[in-house]
């Protein structure tokens, strides 16, 4: 029997409209599921009272025939989005007690449209990570396990709490952010759908910054349609963010059923990386076949600067982060460790407040911006970014409508499995996703099957700037062809 929290967001919306159940009942089903799933560590903070209050308001709206687009739909919020009066930690000890007196643009848009807040979701500290193991509040445990194994797996990162909560039916959908793959990689690891829209589609106002020129918010949900519904609310112009585009939000949900007939889908040969598991290659080929069968033209393309994206990313992102995280100094908010003088206070505060990965990235960023190295590293990386973007522009100019790639080079791995001394090994997780951030393009990860160990694998579609509609249409074809992923039963409850 399906319980209310097993519904997709679209089904729940329609059920509320049909008065099959109330928003309060829907919220309660989720609150119960969350309480039973604390061992997954997906939620950093549960806000059941707020959820029930918001749900009660939703029920009156529905009763009055004034339902808004997301009326009564319970969501989880990645703890990188500032929420008014609700502690926002960014997964860091340095913000353990931080209570914003403002609401992020993205979460504000969701509440404006009637959504219900269930709580704040775990993440890698300051969104820096690919496994959620850098959170100061402990790793998130994936609801997925390898066939015949109890070994805990990572849900991916940095939006690991969001992906795990969606996969474990602890919310109908969740907000997430993606700087190098942090929406698409955890979505792929958990059999969920995640879209990173075009840079500038969602306002960054009120979202804790990691790397300003790369950060972009987007949803993770259980279906392509659910993602389209959520993104339509999250996105939109915002005068408070200079980099947010003044573009009207298209009807994303309508685009979901458009199909791919007549579209040209590019297959970039540079993504066929050395050592790629055969399963991934097979899945990729399968994806191309599905799209061809649905009427798309498949064309091999070249994106020659692909392999430079990850190293360039590991200059640009830490450089921006080193500056963005300078504000955590123990003066105006957050942790303070006393010192003899101001310099010692800064150094002790930041040493105690930041975790290992964050410190490492701040240090690398500080180094590449420092006198004598700026041109060799930062300027060069930004030039390479121009080249990467140009690759995509040329492909699109040659008539490609979207690009199909694997989402990740492997399925989810075990907690602690990649805790080697070489941070680069972990960074390689983002090899397929990071190009998209470097070029500011939209990218969606959609589940396409399971590997031999029973773990989900995802495909990625990359679109033209501000053409998320084509991504929804194309991802929907894959979702239908692959069949909806059967999510793991609640072994944790």
């Amino acid at each position: 029997m399906t319980t209310l929290n097993d519904l997709t967001l679209a089904q729940a919306r329609d059920g509320l409209k049909a008065k099959d159940f109330s928003a309060v009942e829907l919220a309660q089903a989720h609150i119960g599921a969350i309480a039973a799933a604390r061992s997954l560590n997906a939620y950093l903070l549960e806000t059941p009272e707020r959820a029930l209050e918001m749900a009660a308001v939703a029920d009156t709206k529905i009763a009055a025939g004034e339902a808004r687009p997301l009326e009564g739909l319970p969501l989880g919020i990645k703890d990188l989005f500032c929420t008014h009066g609700v502690t926002t930690t960014a997964g860091s000890k340095i913000l353990e007690t931080f209570q914003p007196h403002y609401e992020s643009a993205v979460s504000h848009n969701l509440w404006r449209d009637g959504a219900v807040m269930l709580g704040k979701l775990n993440l890698d500290e300051f969104a820096m990570g690919s496994s959620n193991e850098t959170s100061a509040y402990g790793s998130v445990i994936s609801p997925w396990r390898r066939t015949g194994s109890d070994a805990p797996l990572v849900p991916g990162g940095s939006s690991g709490g969001s992906a795990a909560a969606v996969a474990a039916r602890l919310c109908l959908g969740a907000t997430a952010t993606d700087t190098g793959g942090s929406i698409r990689q955890p979505a792929a690891f958990t059999g969920t759908v995640g879209i990173k829209p075009t840079y500038g589609r969602c306002s960054r106002w009120g979202t804790v910054a990691f790397a300003s020129s790369l950060d972009q918010a987007g949803p993770i949900a259980r279906t392509v349609r659910d993602c389209a519904i959520l993104l339509a609310s999250m996105a939109g112009p915002d005068a408070r963010d200079t980099t947010c585009a003044d573009l009207a939000v298209p009807d994303f949900e309508a685009a979901v059923s458009r199909g791919v007939k007549g579209l040209t889908i590019g297959i970039p040969k540079e993504y066929r990386v050395e050592g790629m598991p055969a399963e991934i290659q097979a899945l990729w080929d399968q994806g191309a076949d599905w799209l061809r069968a649905a009427g798309a033209t498949i064309r091999e393309i070249s994106l020659p600067h692909t392999k430079l994206a990850l190293p360039a990313y590991y200059i640009v992102a830490p450089a921006e982060a080193s500056s963005n995280l300078a504000r955590y100094d123990g003066v105006r908010y957050g942790l303070r460790v006393p010192g003899r003088d101001i310099a010692e206070m800064y150094e002790k505060t930041r040493a105690a407040g930041f975790g290992r990965e964050v410190k490492r990235r701040i240090m690398i960023g500080t180094y590449v911006l420092s006198a004598g190295y700026y041109d060799a590293y930062y300027v060069r990386a930004q030039k390479i970014r121009t080249l990467i973007k140009r690759d995509f522009e040329e492909a699109y100019a040659a008539g490609v409508d979207a690009i199909l790639t694997p989402a990740t080079p492997s399925a989810a791995f075990g907690i602690g499995e990649k805790a080697s001394a070489d941070p680069v090994e972990m960074y390689l997780n983002d090899v397929f996703t990071v190009t998209v951030n470097m070029a500011g393009l939209p990218g969606i990860a959609v589940p396409a099957g399971l590997d031999a160990q029973g773990l989900p694998l995802g495909l990625q579609l990359i679109g033209r700037p501000f053409d998320e509609e084509t991504l929804f249409a194309t991802a929907q074809v894959i979702e239908e062809a692959a069949g909806r992923t059967v999510l793991p039963p609640a072994w944790w409850a």
């Binding site: 500038g200 003088d341 941070p423």
Partner: protein, 95 residues
């Protein structure tokens, strides 16, 4: 390029992060691993290429010159570790 232990200490100080002596060597290794990874960029010919300044080409939005904020000193200092009369307090700074 690679960093030595002194560079690690200098960078840590620039970034205002206290680093104990035991932390220097592992940090040095990690930073060098990352630097080795990004080394490949040095081989790319980037002559004549403009560095990216904004990923989506658009004109910068501007604000009208009107006062829309202020008068919320309480909110501004609400999360501060130490305050007095709506001032932030810090260890004495010597100029």
């Amino acid at each position: 390029m690679s960093v030595d232990a002194n560079t690690v200490r200098r960078i840590a100080h620039l970034a205002r992060i206290a680093v104990s002596e035991e932390e220097v060597a592992p940090l040095q290794d990690e930073l060098n691993a990352i630097l080795a990874f990004v080394e490949q960029l040095g081989a790319v010919d980037v002559s004549g290429i403009e560095p990216m300044t904004s990923v989506t080409p658009m004109a910068m939005k501007k604000r009208e010159d009107v006062v829309t904020e202020g008068g919320r000193a309480r909110d501004v200092v609400f999360n501060a570790p130490e305050t007095e009369d709506h001032y932030f307090l810090v260890p004495k700074v010597v100029e």
